[in-house]
Assembly symmetry: C2
Homo-oligomer: 219 residues x 2
DNA sequence: ACAAGTCTGTTGTTTTTACAACAAAAGGAG
DNA sequence: CTCCTTTTGTTGTAAAAACAACAGACTTGT
């Protein structure tokens, strides 16, 4: 656990909290470390969760398979990112998605109740963490709206352009790497993989962009 | 303003706060009342907002028109509901959507900075409001994921079924009224109106549901 | 009550997407 | 290195959605 203090220091949740304070908060929040093999479920849809998690190693996908077997990827959790913020609130209902390890992963679990119930004596920085959590949920909220914006586009091409240009903007660079395989990108944008692959190649042939695997260049 | 204390008492933000305390908080948060005619912009995409708002009268739509003129409705704000929570955080960037009065509307504006900076002396219930705000953002987050879930469905029919069955579940009743005209529902689900209208009628003919205007019955 | 405008359902046509199937390329395990 | 699996691009066909255009029902304002 101690080895992840450096990582935690750079996360949104512990932003501005010092090493020694993080160490004491790990106890206060009853932090636990769990590992998952590729393909393992971290959470299942329908579960009632009372844990906030930060990813220490690997990669997670927040996704959902519907009745017809179509998969929809809602979000990717990368190292240092969080999952479960939206379920910190009491009466937040059951989880709407599966969370699955896309690679062998290590996840830090925090006790939710310990976060909201400020322990004034032990952790002076508890309130700062609560505020960080607040801003984190706020930011995830805006990201979800952005995703809705991509998905709202009518054609596969428009969805791709919307997503890719946002990634370019986010990286401040027209060269960037996406965290998806083709199938995953299709599941993220909710379109058919082969149709999307086709569209990507057309766009490349038209000189709109270049790509190699999951490295893209917008032109 | 005083006439809306009863309304505010029943909102998520002021849940658990007494009348007299709400009255004093209205000053503390520099509450201001503004009215909008049908079609007026309450906020515009790209704006930097520093106000939290609660709708007192009318109806608002959170929407966005893309390059090709396709409109996407992200959310409806009904009386007592809130907009702007996700932009309370500093550095939350510019607004991603337009907010438009769908009917003549009255909106209460609160100063965001006053909400986050707890004034310990004046308002004992300030911290409760902050917590309420926290839970509200959290809930909106989950609602956005639900919307993504509807939109992720591949066919118009599946999108409709996903949306309508959630509404039925939310109302605890297979009879319910939706807050949309056909065009708006189409914009909300990001599909073509006529195709959707067609699909609705097919579903009715197959005995899956009944409808009259925006009243629906699932069978 | 009337006229103008909006909303809804309906139809036919065009375009796009989904689906299925396969081959080539890349990556991994033994 | 070789075999096996996964990923990606490609194609043809079937299905679905978008688009356009219009008529009737319903609203709204005068």
């Amino acid at each position: 656990m101690e080895k992840y203090v450096e990582l935690l220091k750079r996360t949104q949740l512990f932003s501005g909290v010092k090493d020694t304070e993080i160490t004491s908060m790990l106890h206060c929040l009853q932090a636990k470390l769990l590992t998952f093999k590729k393909g393992d479920y971290v959470f299942r849809e329908g579960e009632h969760i009372d844990k906030l998690t930060i990813l220490a190693e690997g990669k997670l996908l927040v996704q959902r398979d519907d009745f017809w077997g179509n998969r929809s990827i809602v979000n990717v959790i990368r190292i240092g990112e969080m999952f479960g913020e939206a379920y910190v609130a009491p009466e937040s209902g059951s989880l709407l998605n599966d969370v699955i390890a896309e690679e062998d992963s290590t996840v830090i679990f925090f006790d939710v109740r310990r976060i909201l119930t400020v322990c004034s004596t032990a952790c002076r920085f508890h309130s700062m963490v609560v505020q960080n959590l607040f801003f984190a949920i706020s930011e995830k909220n805006r990201k979800l709206v952005q995703k809705i914006d991509h998905m709202s586009k009518r054609s596969t091409r428009a969805k791709l352009l919307s997503y890719l240009s946002e990634e370019a903007k986010r990286h401040n660079n027209n060269r960037f790497t996406i965290p998806f395989t083709r199938q995953q990108l299709a599941d993220f944008l909710c379109v058919d993989r082969s149709a999307m692959s086709n569209e990507l190649c057309k766009m490349r042939d038209e000189g709109l962009l270049q790509f190699d695997k999951n490295k893209f260049i917008l032109l």
